[in-house]
């Protein structure tokens, strides 16, 4: 089977779906690999590197005609047009956001697997691109914040006076949030975290962060690691707690996402106003509408004296590592679904079932169907 890797077309994207190391593994398994010229340029991987690893370097058209085509970001309608009828494609899709692409895929009977839909079960952890990318994003968000901030993170007692440590307030202690805690803490900041899931308290503390516990209120139902239902009372109390804390914060990082929904607004404009001049907010959820009311996508804006960073594609700022991890994720999924003879199509198997979006001209993914009401 021939695997094609396309150069990303989305603005700001720097990642590439396979890296030379992983290409070698893919070839070892008996696949052929063909990479679009310049695909790795922005991730510091040259065409020569790919060739050295055993891949062919070819034109976009040629790569698109492979049996399986890999990408990081979802395929556009034009890209789908270039694909072979009945072929297979794998990438992040967030399928519920792109109904027209789904139609295009179905029209060409292309089977599409989505990386973001791989179920988060234990044995699929190696394919969990959401985690791998969120982890990097969590690190990067702190570096971005540290870079934008007019002060240093650690406490420092010097001859010219004492510099107080930067106070970082983090919303959401998922994968990205936790890595942000760890990174900010290493750099010497005082880190406070709020989350709706009670078990995150222990996790945050295990990294040296302080958890803002909403006292005396229950009302959070957790299902499969995700907060399913949060009572209004809880949210109100949480907001009051946060409002008191955000005034002192130098850097605010928001990471709260709810899959398939608009991100909750956690930092209102009033809160922004209450913050100190010169402080910084990094909104990681800006692509799904933002956790901060005044963040703007892919822009750094200054509002009420506060710098608000709305970078939508943080992993793309770490192209080397992000590509490396994504390549492992996607190749692991590939090896799980297929061998050199072809795909296994075990339609009832959990991972296949969870990640397959379109197949034989139909939208088969339950969750996407629900959201799109199809």
């Amino acid at each position: 089977m021939k695997i094609g890797v396309l150069k990303e077309t989305k603005g700001h994207e720097t990642r590439v779906a396979l890296t030379p190391d992983v290409v070698k593994q893919v070839i070892k398994k008996g696949f052929e690999v063909c990479v679009e010229t310049g695909a790795g340029d922005l991730a510091a991987i040259s065409d020569a590197d790919f060739q050295a690893a055993g891949a062919q370097v070819c034109s976009k058209a040629e790569a698109s005609q492979s049996d399986v085509v890999l990408k990081v970001n979802s395929f556009t309608e034009e890209e789908v047009a270039g694909l072979k009828e009945g072929s297979i494609c794998i990438s992040f899709m967030y399928a519920y956001t792109i109904p027209s692409v789904i139609d295009a895929l179905n029209a060409k009977k292309i089977s599409a697997f989505s990386m973001d839909a791989v179920p988060r079960i234990s044995r699929a952890q190696k394919m969990d691109a959401l985690s791998s990318q969120a982890n990097l994003a969590g690190y990067k968000t702190v570096i971005l914040g540290a870079n934008a901030l007019g002060k240093i993170f650690p406490l420092m007692m010097t001859a010219a006076g004492t510099i107080t440590p930067t106070r970082v307030l983090i919303f959401g202690a998922g994968v990205a949030g936790l890595q942000a805690v760890a990174t900010a803490k290493r750099l010497g900041a005082v880190v406070e975290v709020t989350d709706v899931r009670p078990e995150t308290k222990e996790q945050v503390e295990s990294l040296g962060g302080r958890f803002l516990t909403v006292e005396g209120v229950e009302g959070v139902k957790v299902e499969g690691g995700y907060a399913k239902e949060v009572s209004a009372e809880f949210l109100q109390k949480q907001k009051e707690l946060v409002e008191a804390k955000i005034k002192d914060a130098d850097l605010v990082i928001t990471t709260a996402l709810v899959i398939g929904k608009k991100a909750p607004v956690l930092v209102s404009e009033d809160m922004v106003k209450s913050m100190k001049a010169g402080s910084v907010i990094v909104d990681m959820a800006v692509e799904s509408g933002g956790n901060c009311a005044v963040s703007e996508i892919n822009k750094t804006v200054v509002k009420h004296g506060v710098t608000i960073i709305g970078e939508s594609n943080l992993p793309a700022l770490l192209p080397v590592n992000a590509s490396q991890l994504y390549a492992t994720n996607i190749s692991t999924l590939l090896f799980h679904l297929a061998d050199k003879e072809g795909f296994k199509w075990e339609m009832e198997e959990e991972i296949t079932k969870g990640s397959l979006i379109t197949h034989q001209g139909a939208l088969v993914h339950e969750f996407t169907k629900t959201i799109l009401n199809k």
Binding site: R123, R186, Q203, S206, L207
Partner: protein, 461 residues
């Protein structure tokens, strides 16, 4: 008595003291045992030279027979059976004291028909009483440990009452026997009572507590020897017996403390059940617990150690004390590495962050794929607050939610110690049968606290 013999006894006593003192230190312990055995040899020689030529044959004969039996068993037993063996030898020692005291008493009161003075008589009674308890108690302990009778505590109502009554009876019998020295029946009943009491005090005790019991009985046998010394008016018996009696009590107390029990409980007998840490639900996993001292010993005697850190290490913030552990091991030239499972903890790189904070060199952190083959050649794996990442169900049980997840082959090591607080489950919420494996020992308690204790033990070794 000849002055030279007395001096020999004094020398023997000194050698016993020196021997015990040397046995305090790991390095000198073996020499200490030798020193004390030389003392014993001197004491025996000094005694043998006193005997009549005509009985010498009997004496040498008995000694040869006894020694042969002793040596045979000492060298034949499996290493794992040593505790039983010690119990058995100890019982013989106790019975020997009974026999000596009885022999002397019988000789005087029955055969020579003289009245012995009260002090001697009381000494005889004490010797018989303590020696008798030691004998049967040790035999019961021997049987329990060897699995020849059930290790479970055997209990019945009013046990304490019966013991108390027997004790009172023993005192009464002593008094009466002194009054009527001509009639041997009382002293013989005293023998029977002591033997019975020995059985009754030990049967209610569970198999896991046997080491403490043996230590206590060892102390008793020393006391029995000591009282025999009073019977025979012999200093070396008093010194050696008192040494063993006192050190045995202290040792028992130390062992009790290590097991979280009070000596009073032990002395009263019937100090009950083994603490058994049963799993909350699901298929019951029977685990073996290990104490901090034993854990320290296992580290001390390992040549290679792999630490498997997990989320529990992060929760306990045990990373700093683990670094101390690594320093202790490195001091002993023990190969010490960390096996980092890719999803240990609750975020990617969780373990890396914490271990870096504790200043553990990057070289020591080995990826799963690079270390997984090394576990089978590793003496000791120390699992610190990890659970799912070492759960063999991921390899073997297709029903398990973690089936298919690659895991660290911790179970393949010679010995595994798991530090966690309870039988609590990990993130995936599944039982971990590794904990019940024969090579796995559980070190319960907060990781930071228990490891601190282990490190302290190691520092003292």
């Amino acid at each position: 008595m000849n002055i030279y013999i007395q001096i020999a006894y004094l020398v023997a006593s000194i050698l016993f003291i020196a021997g015990i003192k040397m046995m305090n230190k790991t390095k000198e312990a073996r020499k200490g045992n030798l020193v004390s055995s030389v003392g014993m040899l001197i004491a025996i020689l000094a005694t043998v030279v006193q005997v009549q030529a005509i009985t010498l044959v009997d004496i040498l004969g008995c000694m040869v027979v006894g020694s042969a039996i002793g040596l045979y068993f000492a060298y034949k037993v499996e290493m794992t059976e040593i505790p039983e063996m010690v119990a058995l030898f100890n019982g013989f020692g106790g019975l020997a004291s009974v026999a000596v005291a009885l022999s002397d008493y019988w000789l005087k009161t029955q055969e020579q028909a003289i009245n012995v003075d009260a002090i001697t008589a009381v000494s005889v009674a004490l010797s018989i009483f303590i020696g008798g308890i030691t004998f049967t108690g040790s035999i019961v302990a021997y049987l329990k440990l060897g699995g020849k009778i059930s290790g479970k505590p055997i209990m019945f109502g009013g046990q304490h009452m019966v013991n108390l009554l027997l004790l009172i009876a023993a005192i009464g019998l002593t008094v009466v026997s002194i009054m009527n020295q001509a009639d041997p029946i009382f002293i013989l009943i005293l023998v029977a009572v002591s033997l019975l009491l020995g059985i009754l005090t030990v049967i209610p005790i569970g198999g896991a507590d046997m080491p403490v019991v043996i230590s206590l009985l060892n102390s008793y046998s020393g006391m029995a020897a000591c009282t025999t010394g009073f019977v025979l008016n012999n200093n070396v018996l008093i010194v050696a017996g008192a040494l063993v009696g006192a050190s045995g009590i202290i040792l028992t107390q130390i062992m009790c403390k290590a097991m979280n029990r009070s000596l009073v409980n032990v002395l009263l007998g019937g100090f009950g059940q083994t603490a058994s840490a049963a799993a909350a639900d699901g298929p019951e996993i029977t685990v073996k617990e290990v104490g901090v001292e034993e854990a320290a010993m296992l580290f001390d005697s390992a040549t290679s150690v792999i630490v498997v850190p997990g989320y529990g290490m992060a929760v306990a913030q045990a990373q700093h004390v683990i670094r101390e552990l690594s320093e202790q091991c490195e001091k002993r030239n023990i190969d010490f590495r960390f096996a980092i499972h890719p999803v240990a903890g609750r975020m990617p790189g969780h373990m890396n962050v914490l271990l870096a904070e504790a200043n553990i060199s990057y070289d020591k952190l080995i990826e799963m794929d690079d270390i997984n083959d090394d576990f089978s050649n590793t003496d000791l794996v120390f699992v610190v607050g990890a659970n799912d990442v070492v759960n063999p169900a991921a390899r073997t049980n297709p029903q398990s939610p973690i089936f298919g997840m690659p895991i660290l082959n911790a179970d393949k090591a010679r010995t595994v110690i798991v530090s966690k607080r309870s039988m609590g489950k990990g993130y995936a919420g599944v039982e971990n049968e590794l904990f019940g494996y024969p090579n796995c020992l559980m070190l319960f308690g907060d990781a930071k606290q228990t490891i601190t204790k282990v490190v302290n033990e190691m520092k003292e070794m």
